[in-house]
C-alpha cells in the first residue's frame, strides 16, 4: 500500500481516536477532579493512539495477485491471510471517497458467493493498482460466462 494511504488512514484514525479513547479519558479525568488543563493532553493522546493504530493497519496490509487469485494479508494482533480464488469472484466494486479521490486512492470490494467472506474489502489501494486489479479480475469473469 502506498504511504499516502497510510497518511490518510492516520488522519482518519486521529479523528476517531479523538473521541473514543480521547474524549472518554478527558471525561474521566474531569470526573475524577483532575486539573482541567489535562483535558487537551488526553485528547491529543487519543488522537495519537488512533493515528498510530490506523497507520500500522495500513502499513501492515499487503495484497498480491497471482495465477491463483487475489491474496490479502494483514498482520496485526491477529494475522489474517485471505485468498479469493479467481474462479470464485462474483462481482467487483471500486469505491472512491472524497478524501481518497484527492489522494489518488481507491477501495476495491471483491464479492464472492460465500457467507462470512462474501465481501473482501481492500482499501487504500493506489488508483492505478485498483483499476488494474479490477480489470484483471473482471476479465476472468467475462471468460467464465456461467459463473452462477
Amino acid at each position: 500500500m502506498p504511504v499516502r494511504a497510510a497518511r490518510l488512514a492516520a488522519l482518519e484514525g486521529a479523528g476517531g481516536g479523538l473521541f473514543v479513547p480521547g474524549a472518554l479519558l478527558a471525561g474521566l479525568s474531569a470526573w475524577l477532579g483532575w486539573p482541567l488543563l489535562l483535558a487537551p493532553l488526553w485528547l491529543l493522546l487519543g488522537a495519537g493512539v488512533g493515528a498510530a493504530l490506523a497507520w500500522r493497519r495500513v502499513r501492515r496490509t499487503r495484497w498480491r495477485l497471482d495465477a491463483q487469485g487475489l491474496g490479502l494479508r494483514r498482520d496485526l494482533l491477529w494475522h489474517l491471510e485471505t485468498r479469493v480464488p479467481l474462479s470464485r469472484v462474483q462481482h467487483l466494486d471500486l469505491r472512491r471517497g472524497p478524501l481518497e479521490r484527492r489522494a489518488g486512492l481507491a477501495t476495491l470490494i471483491v464479492h464472492t458467493a460465500g457467507t462470512r467472506m462474501s465481501a473482501v474489502v481492500v482499501s487504500g489501494l493506489d488508483d492505478a493498482d485498483a483499476e488494474y486489479l479490477r480489470d484483471t479480475l473482471a476479465h476472468q469473469l467475462d471468460q467464465d460466462a456461467d459463473a452462477l
Binding site: 487469485g69 494482533l77 485468498r83 470464485r88 458467493a113 457467507t115 462470512r116 467472506m117
Partner: protein, 517 residues
C-alpha cells in the same frame, strides 16, 4: 368474510400460455394480510366500542378496513399472472406499479410446496421458487391447485435439468434425466422414529423459553412481578399449611421436577410429530425432495448439485440411542424465522450412523465417506479450549472463599475436569482434505462432522491469533455459500507449516476448477 367469491373464470391455459392463480387465492392473501393487521384491527374493535355515543363511522371502521383488504386481495389476484416458457417462468404482478420477472429454470435452486390445514381443505397449495442469495423467494404463488403446483414443481425439475445438461461437463446426469417419474425413496421415518426424535431432542425447551420471553415482553413488568410474588406466597402458604417436613419438601420438589421434565418431553414429542410426521426423503432426476409435516405439509426440493455443505451431528442422547442427524446448506433462501424452517435443511433428522454414511455415499458418488483416515492435530496446548474456565474458576473460587471460607475453594475441582475434557476434545479434532472434498470433525460431548466439496468452496483464510503465534499453530477457514449454524468449516489448531501447505494446496486446486453450482 361471508362474501361469496366472484365468479372468476380460469383463462384457458392452452391459448395464451398465461396462467392465473387459483380462484380462491384472494382469500388466502386476505388471511395473510389480516394476520398482519390483526392487532390494529382488534384494537379498533375494542376501543371503538367504548361508549354508545360513538358515531356510526367509528363502529363501521373495522368493517371498512376489512372491505378494503378484500378489494386489495382480489385486485392482487386479478393482476397476478405467470407464464411458463421453455427456459423461464415469467411472473407478472401489480396493478399500479407493474412488475414483470423472468426466472430461468436453470437458476431455481429450491422449490417449496406448502399446505396448511386450510389449504388442504380447499385442495390448494402455496408454491415458492427460490434462487441463490437474497432473503426473499423469487416468486410466491399463493395459492395454486395442488395438482398444478406439483406439475409446476415437476416442470422445474425437468427443465432445470434439460437446460443444464449440455453445460454439464460430461457428467452422467443425462441418462437420469431420461427417466421420468419414478422417485426413489431414500429415507422414511416411521411414527416411532419421529417420537424418538422428539424424545431425544429439546424442542420443548426452546418453545418454553421462547414463550416465556414473549410473555415477559408483552405483559407489563409490574403485573408480572405481582403475579410471581402472589403465586409464590400462595404456594409457600399452601406448603407451610401442609407442614410436610424436609423429606416431604424434597419429595415435593422432586415430583415437580419430574412432572416438569415429563411435560417438556411430551411437548417435544408433539412438536416433532407436527413437524416430522411422515418425513420422506426421495430422489428423482438428481433432485432431492423432502415432504414432511402432520397438519401443514411441506414439500421442498433441491437439486443435488446445489448442496453447498454437509453437516452431521450427534448429541450425547443421540449417541446412546445410536442415531445421528444429517443436514445440508443450500445457497437458496437464507431467510430468517418461519421461512427458514420450511427450506430443505435436514436430509435425515434422525438415522443410524451407517444409514447416514450410506446416504452420503449415495448422494456424493466419487467421494469416499467417511474418510479412511482423519488427520489429527497435536494435543499440546489443549488447555486453550477451556480458556474461559481457566480464568473464571479461580476468580469465582476467590470470591466464594472471601464470602464463605474454605468451602468456596471446592469450585477449583472444576479445573482438572475442564482440562481433561479439553484434552479429550482436542484429541477428537480431525480433518481431511483430498481432491474432492474437505472435511472436519470435532466435539467430544456433542460430536459433529462437516464437509464440503472442493467445487463449493468460495474463499480461504489463514488466521493466527496471538495465542496461535505463541503455540506455533494456525487455523484455515473455508467459506461456503449459505453457511449457517453453529459449526464452521475450519481447520483449527494445525501446526503452522501444515496450515500453510493446506492453504496453498486448496488455493491451487480452486484456481484450476471452475465454480460448479
Amino acid at each position: 368474510m361471508s362474501a361469496t367469491p366472484p365468479p372468476l373464470p380460469l383463462p384457458a391455459s392452452g391459448e395464451t400460455g398465461e396462467h392465473r392463480l387459483h380462484p380462491w387465492s384472494w382469500l388466502f392473501v386476505l388471511l395473510l394480510q389480516l394476520r398482519q393487521y390483526l392487532l390494529p384491527l382488534v384494537a379498533l374493535l375494542v376501543f371503538g366500542q367504548r361508549g354508545d355515543r360513538d358515531p356510526l363511522w367509528a363502529q363501521l371502521l373495522p368493517l371498512g378496513v376489512i372491505a378494503v383488504l378484500v378489494v386489495v386481495s382480489v385486485l392482487q389476484y386479478l393482476s397476478f399472472r405467470y407464464r411458463i416458457g421453455s427456459e423461464a417462468i415469467t411472473v407478472r404482478s401489480g396493478l399500479l406499479s407493474r412488475n414483470r420477472r423472468e426466472i430461468p429454470f436453470a437458476r431455481i435452486h429450491n422449490v417449496v410446496v406448502q399446505q396448511n390445514p386450510l389449504h388442504r381443505l380447499f385442495g390448494v397449495a402455496e408454491l415458492r421458487l427460490e434462487s441463490a442469495g437474497g432473503t426473499r423467494p423469487e416468486a410466491e404463488m399463493r395459492v395454486l391447485r395442488m395438482d398444478q403446483a406439483l406439475a409446476l414443481e415437476r416442470l422445474v425439475r425437468q427443465r432445470g435439468q434439460a437446460t443444464r445438461a449440455p453445460l454439464a461437463d460430461a457428467q452422467a446426469d443425462t441418462p437420469d434425466a431420461a427417466h421420468s417419474d419414478d422417485a426413489q425413496v431414500l429415507l422414511h421415518l416411521s411414527t416411532w422414529e419421529v417420537v424418538k426424535l422428539g424424545l431425544l431432542g429439546n424442542r420443548g425447551w426452546v418453545l418454553v423459553i421462547a414463550a416465556l420471553g414473549a410473555l415477559f415482553q408483552v405483559v407489563p413488568r409490574r403485573v408480572m412481578d405481582d403475579v410471581v410474588e402472589r403465586g409464590g406466597r400462595q404456594a409457600f402458604g399452601y406448603a407451610s399449611e401442609l407442614q410436610p417436613g424436609i423429606t416431604g419438601g424434597l419429595l415435593l420438589v422432586a415430583a415437580l421436577l419430574v412432572v416438569g421434565w415429563l411435560g417438556l418431553r411430551v411437548l417435544s414429542v408433539v412438536l416433532s410429530l407436527l413437524r416430522y410426521h411422515g418425513f420422506t426423503l426421495s430422489e428423482q432426476e438428481r433432485r432431492l425432495t423432502v415432504s414432511t409435516g402432520l397438519l401443514s405439509r411441506t414439500r421442498s426440493s433441491v437439486a443435488l448439485r446445489r448442496i453447498q455443505a454437509w453437516t452431521l451431528r450427534e448429541s450425547i442422547m443421540q449417541r446412546w440411542a445410536g442415531a445421528r442427524q444429517l443436514r445440508i446448506d443450500s445457497a437458496a433462501g437464507q431467510a430468517q424465522g418461519e421461512a427458514q424452517q420450511r427450506a430443505l435443511r435436514e436430509l435425515a433428522p434422525l438415522a443410524s450412523p451407517e444409514r447416514c454414511d450410506a446416504l452420503v455415499r449415495h448422494l456424493l458418488p466419487g467421494v469416499a465417506w467417511p474418510p479412511a483416515q482423519w488427520r489429527s492435530v497435536p494435543v499440546r496446548g489443549s488447555w486453550r479450549l477451556c480458556l474461559t474456565s481457566l480464568w473464571l474458576t479461580p476468580l469465582l473460587a476467590a470470591g466464594l472463599y472471601w464470602r464463605w471460607g474454605a468451602m468456596g475453594l471446592a469450585v477449583l475441582v472444576w479445573l482438572p475436569i475442564a482440562l481433561w475434557t479439553a484434552r479429550l476434545q482436542m484429541a477428537r479434532i480431525g480433518w481431511h482434505a483430498d481432491g474432492h472434498l474437505v472435511a472436519v470433525r470435532g466435539g467430544w460431548w456433542r460430536r459433529w462432522w462437516r464437509w464440503a466439496e472442493l467445487d463449493k468452496l468460495q474463499g480461504l483464510q489463514l488466521r493466527r491469533s496471538p495465542l496461535d503465534r505463541v503455540l506455533g499453530t494456525a487455523s484455515v477457514r473455508l467459506d461456503t455459500a449459505g453457511a449457517h449454524g453453529d459449526v464452521a468449516l475450519q481447520l483449527d489448531f494445525l501446526p503452522q507449516a501444515q496450515a500453510r501447505a493446506v492453504l496453498e494446496q486448496l488455493a491451487d486446486a480452486l484456481a484450476r476448477r471452475r465454480l460448479h453450482w
